[in-house]
Amino acid sequence: MNAHDEPRSRPERRRSRLLRLLLGIVDAGTWLAPESRRRDWRQQWRGDLMHEWQRRTAHPRGLGDRASLLPHAAGALRHAFWLRMHVRRLEMITQDLRYGWRLMVRKPAFTAIAVLTLGLGIGANVTMFSWIDASLRRQMRGVAYPERFVALNGTTRTRADLGFSYPDFVDYRAQKPDSVDDLVAFSFAPMNLRTDGDPQRAFGQLVSGNYFGALGVAPALGRLLGPEDDRVRDGGAVAVLSHTFWQRRFGSDPAVVGRPVTLNGRSFTIIGVAPPAFRGTEPYLSLDVWVPLAIEASLIGDGDRLGRRGVSWLEVLVKLKPGVTIARAQRDLDVVAAGLASAYPQDLGRGVALFELWRAPASGGPMVAAAMGVQMAVAGVVLLIACANVANLLIARAAGRRRETAVRLSLGASRRRLVQQLLTESTLLATAGGVVGLGLAYVTKDAVRWFIPPIPVPVVIDPSLNGSVLVFALIATVASVVAFGLVPALQGSLSSVAAALKEAAGTLTASPRSGRVRQALVIVQVALSLMLLISAGLFMRSLVKAQATDPGFSMRTGVLASLDLLPAGYDQTRGSAFYRDLLARVRVLPGVEAASTAAKVPLSFGGAGSFLVKIDGYTPAANEQIDVWYNRVGSDYLKTMGIPLLAGREFTDRDTPGMPAVAIANETLARRYFAGRDPIGGRVRIGTTTVEIVGVARDGKYQLITESPRPFLYVPAPQWYRPDSVLIVRTAGSPAGMPARLHDIARALDANVPLFDVRTTAQHLEIATFMQRMIATLLGAFGALALVLATVGLYAVIAAIAAQRTPEIGMRIALGATPRDIVSLILRQGLGMTASGIAIGLAGSLAATRLFRSLLIGVSTTDLASFGGTTFLLVAVAIAAAYIPARRAAATDPIEALRTE
């Protein structure tokens, strides 16, 4: 190092200037490095640069060699910046988390209330979402590449929910465009299945031969249907069982493959079992059996539909090639449709439309989507209330932490830093709430079965907490952090340093701004929960009214059973004889008061049949169509159902096809179309048939308990034969034991005819009010939840306000205020907020309840009892919530209170 001792030459001076520049860059960059690492960073770079400098000076390769250190010094700045971005943030987050955790543990009551509140809100949403998720992915369980399947619906100018004929399906497959991988067709088919014992009802699908292959379903046992099964028209009929059906009916017997099974009276060979995950492609249903479309004629016996282009009875799914959009496939298929429309007269005016499976009109997509929208909206309101609650709690806590905040601000913490810390705490709370919510959702997800209508098909919705539900829970959690955490965090960091430091622990007046925000939040909560409560109240009242509504028939004890003679191969003569024999045997059973049959029992799900008729002696107005609902019923129907006969006679066993065609009218029909005339003997023309009215029956409810009186005709079943019908048995007392005896009788008549969907009258009547019950249950549950949350919120805010006013209250007591004065002071404040919330809630309810007017029975959308009752309930709860803190405030010891001042 002699160079330093000798007088400096010019190049040397330049050299030392370069070194100073290098070190200067490091010094200048010091502020960039995070505080905690600043010293180390500076020392590391000075050490390394000096060392390198000396090394290069000892083995000089010119000044340029040392000047090339400059870019390295620039690297030092990059290093410092990197440290700031990474180390500092990591340190802060850990620090915030640790601090937040300590706060949570130190205030267990606060934490418990906040976490539970959020858990309830998030749980409600996750549960609803899991139901929707299960409903949406229902159709494609166990299918490979479910995302590539879309529904193909047939369209005309006015409709988009049509099916396809078999020849059309074959043509679409043969002409499938490049964007389409394959098309599969299927048709829902209820069947009578028999192995050796009793026949039973099974639900299956007729499917095209490529069905399992295109869906990518592999057999659990044996083989599944393949393209070769498309060619088997008769003989060698084969069937595939579902996994659950195989377990239930065959006890998981592996030797089932190759065994015969009788479907609709015809023998099939079982060739295989589908895997457990696969349940078929009917929305919501879990199917039992699949058979090839090719044997349709012999299974359904409705004439050969396979050859007829005009009969649209098939549902079609399209499997798109990977990466193909619906729009592109739609354009390609439009071309095929146009070709078919010009080639075949039956296809004239027909087009096609592709839909995502969940919204395909042919499978009820739009209705389901609307119901789900309502569910999600209600759950969302509950989460909003929960968030308002927690926001309030946080603001209350922030008020208690104003001094802490002020001290930190004055010590140099940035507002951003403070907001970040408060948000970290909120995130901790929300995460805990999310975990609680997931737990709640896990418990409540199976409650979905209460919301499945009791209809005689195997509906399956099995929610699970899968990946997308977890993602939804995460989104709900993050959204709630924003909803409840942001306002308190911003507000908490806004306190002015000077003001806050000057403030003593308590002052005579509470901070006006935070007070206003909190009161607004409570008012919103009260309003939202009142809206939910009023809606729930309307539906509960509606349910009570529905149960009290006279359905027009008096039978309350009895049994209903469905049967279908078609699969067993009956024609009209044998079928009518079967029903006559069946009724004769049932009527003599002990305990049976009366028995009959009907095509449809009143108040069933599903539409009613209707006739367009002309009535002799009645001149319709221009454009008036007389649209009359009807039912085909057996002898003694009115007596069995307990429908009063007002005039004329009932159907008897003599009203057969050979006898004059007759009918029974209801009151409304008689009054409207036979005004001033005797309806008995009147003539009604139904198409080419003229029927004579032989009786008049009292009006009733036919389809919905909500409907208003309408014209109705009963026609005798033997004169309007159909192979399927419902056996109605009225019993003197409890119908227990009756189903078994009915099964015995049916078996004795024909072992191939099963009774299915056997239910008591009481069970059937529940169906009639199902919709109201379902909505009332859902809204009631959410309304109760909202009430609890709003109560907690109200209580917490009033308690906090009362606590803040402790010195003021102490002063008032010292100046002579009585405990009564103090209680009423606090109560007034609580009730003021409640009153504002109620006013807004009532106005909101008046607007909202109009949306579901059509679902209410005998209750107006402004029903006084519902509005008044729930408002009263809310006021009572609000008084209780305010009274506790009011009492506590009244018990304030003035000396204590003023000492803290």
Binding site: G47, G75, R78, L83, V87
Partner: protein, 108 residues
């Protein structure tokens, strides 16, 4: 405990350079050909992962050389294991002929 994800190539080459006896930032830059803006942050990162440990040079040595002490790095046992694991992965890459890809000599 779950295995940490495999190291990126830059991290491996720095661990490798340290294992080879290059214990200071500039030596590691020379050995790896990486820039200081990459090497120094990566050293910190590897230290926070527990693969490297650092300490300061003996102050007396630094004083003798009339410069501040330098920070130097050592491999930890975890770092040695991670490096061995990574080297095994690279060794497992079977030789491929690149002639068909028409690489000019300067790129090879």
């Amino acid at each position: 405990m779950r295995k940490p994800p495999p190291l990126a190539f830059g991290h491996v080459s720095i661990l490798h350079a340290v294992a080879d006896g290059n214990r200071f930032g500039f030596d590691i830059m020379d050995a790896t050909g990486l820039t200081s803006g990459t090497v120094y942050p990566t050293l910190d990162k590897l230290e926070s992962l527990g693969y490297l440990a650092s300490h300061w040079e003996d102050a007396r040595v630094a004083r003798r050389d009339k410069r501040p002490p330098r920070r130097y790095f050592d491999l930890t046992p975890a770092g040695a294991a991670a490096l061995a694991d990574a080297l095994k992965r690279y060794k497992n890459l079977k030789p491929v002929s690149l002639a068909a890809w028409k690489i000019r000599p300067s790129e090879a």
